[in-house]
Symmetry: none
């Protein structure tokens, strides 16, 4: 308030952070759509601007270069992965948590579609060290979250302790990453495969209870 009145004499058009954030998202949505359709390198700034409904030049007022679009998108994606871990957390049992998240991933075609970007991200990370750093940082957070979750279930006796929590987390992530590859190939029976995957995971990790 004080600031505003002090400057008021020479104030021009006031900045509007909300509008800026909104447009930023608008651009990122367009970029995501194009990257999904064409890949990071084949997608052009012109396409992105058309998809987002802004001018090319305007993109550059929000992102200094195309690569920053990629980076921002990756960060957005990876943080959203953490939400899924929270879901498993909140459900009572590990097995139920898995089922829930799987169902979400399958049920929401938007999510399924978006996840396809993960392949491009990993491929890009395998060559671009800066991208790799971004992905790796987020990945470590994800592994940590899943690992501690698994550890808790291990302590509770629901999962056996043979595999180290972090390794288990990495394997689960790998399996899900790999399943995206199946979707990429147009495999139809997504539901079946994912439930099979859930069974696969739980059988591999659950304490074997001798009847």
């Amino acid at each position: 308030m004080t600031n505003r009145s002090l400057k008021a004499t020479t104030l021009g058009r006031p900045a509007n952070p909300e509008a800026r954030a909104q447009r930023r998202e608008q651009i990122l949505r367009g970029a995501r759509a194009c990257f999904l359709r064409k890949g990071f390198h084949a997608a052009t700034t012109a396409e992105i601007s058309a998809e987002a409904g802004v001018s090319v030049a305007n993109i550059y007022q929000y992102f200094p270069a195309k690569e920053h679009l990629i980076r921002a998108l990756i960060e957005e994606d990876l943080t959203s992965d953490l939400d899924l871990v929270d879901m498993v957390e909140m459900s009572g049992s590990f097995r139920k948590g898995l089922e829930m998240t799987s169902r979400i991933v399958i049920a929401d075609p938007q999510v399924a579609q978006d996840s396809m970007l993960r392949l491009e991200i990993l491929a890009e990370a395998s060559r671009n060290p800066e991208i790799a750093a971004v992905v790796k940082a987020a990945d470590e957070r994800l592994v940590a979250a899943m690992g501690s979750l698994i550890a808790r279930y291990q302590e509770r006796g629901e999962l056996h302790a043979e595999i180290k929590p972090d390794a288990a987390a990495r394997l689960i992530i790998s399996l899900y990453d790999g399943l995206i590859g199946r979707v990429a190939l147009g495999e139809q029976s997504d539901v079946e495969l994912i439930t099979a995957a859930d069974k696969f995971i739980t059988r591999a990790l659950e304490e074997i209870i001798i009847p």
Copy 2:
């Protein structure tokens, strides 16, 4: 004039099929190196020609377009995957077969390095239907081979029959694909993770024998 008539004599007859095949391979080797380093779209024909030690124009006498290079490379890659299944086949038990192939993949850095291209291939398949078709065809052969292998082990009682052979095959492939993602992120302890993966798979699939 003399030139023209000289050419006329040899027209229609491929001068030297072996030399052609050899150069074709030479070009593909260069292409693979570049695609690994830069990705399909960022790699340029100039780079490929330099890496292969031929002129750019020469590439076009073996492949009508850059995309054909990509396709040829993908086909080469996918058929080599079938060899791994044969290995598991030849080893006595499923568990041993897995261990063997894993060890090969890890031990040979060339193979490990090359496998990184798999991410790019899957990413490309997720958008390019023609590429997807090629990959899918090869993938189905791979699933079939692994599936029948698993089925045999299930019949033999070494693996339990809860999961359908094909689904199991797909899951294993997924897991391995996903592990390539870990390597792409520069995960150091490859050996540990892959042995964990083997244990993961066998625990998920083996008949649980109560001691």
Copy 3:
């Protein structure tokens, strides 16, 4: 509505002429710095606005286009040249006047630095007829002033009359312009060269007095 009526009251009356002139100068100072550093075409309005401490849009409320900035700056520059002639005028002898002005040009690094813009101005004049017209008009005033000065010294017998006053003026201006080129090349011994130039000029123009 309220806004509009408020504005209407002050319409047509320049709010504060002094403030306007002041800001105009502020912008021109920023422009000069940028033009010196980058040249007319490579300097951007964004840079100029940053250097001047105003917004880009604000520049356009004082100058209708970038080229007008250039023109205004050139006019400013050229009128300041006339001041130097006055200096020579006021000193008692031609030789002394030359020495004085040379010393000023060298001593004040600001002036020396600014003079570098002269090259850009001349280069621009060689292609842009509108710029050429502006420069030429000012140049003719300068030649006239220097010419009449030289004529007076010729009458007084201090300078010989072999070369026509205007031609002499043009030659002196040329020599000084050319010396700016030496400075542009980073020639270190500015002092030496300029005193040599003074000697050069006086020897060429002075009546040769046989001792």
Copy 4:
């Protein structure tokens, strides 16, 4: 010869250095015309390619960037200046040599036109250190050549020894550079001014012979 026959088996189209050199010149001619008309920064590669009668991309097979066109042109220009010194050298007397070169510069409108680029070059040198280095190197050769020439005439007694040869050379170069500025302003009586300049120079440098 031996080389050629050794490679003959796999030889493709043989390189043609003459044709390359020719096209290089063709491009440079187009670039010079455009740079004269628009200046280094305002001239576009598209204009240059049109003027030279080649495609834009073709330019980049001879020069890695636009700036290299500028550099090459500068070098070409500066070496041609050395030829003028040789002319003075060959003529019997300093005064006659000056007259000759001046006449050439004036008589050949191509030369006069081209010399206008000098202003742009100096302006560019005043900001771009790499360009400055190129210009300076060539300039030093020019000063050395002119300086030694003047020294020889000084020894011979045709020129007085009051001003050091190098300084005299620099002053003469400056004067000629500055005269280009006059031409840039569209000064009509080039001939008069240049002959006045010659007289100016000789009066400043010649041994004063007391009748």
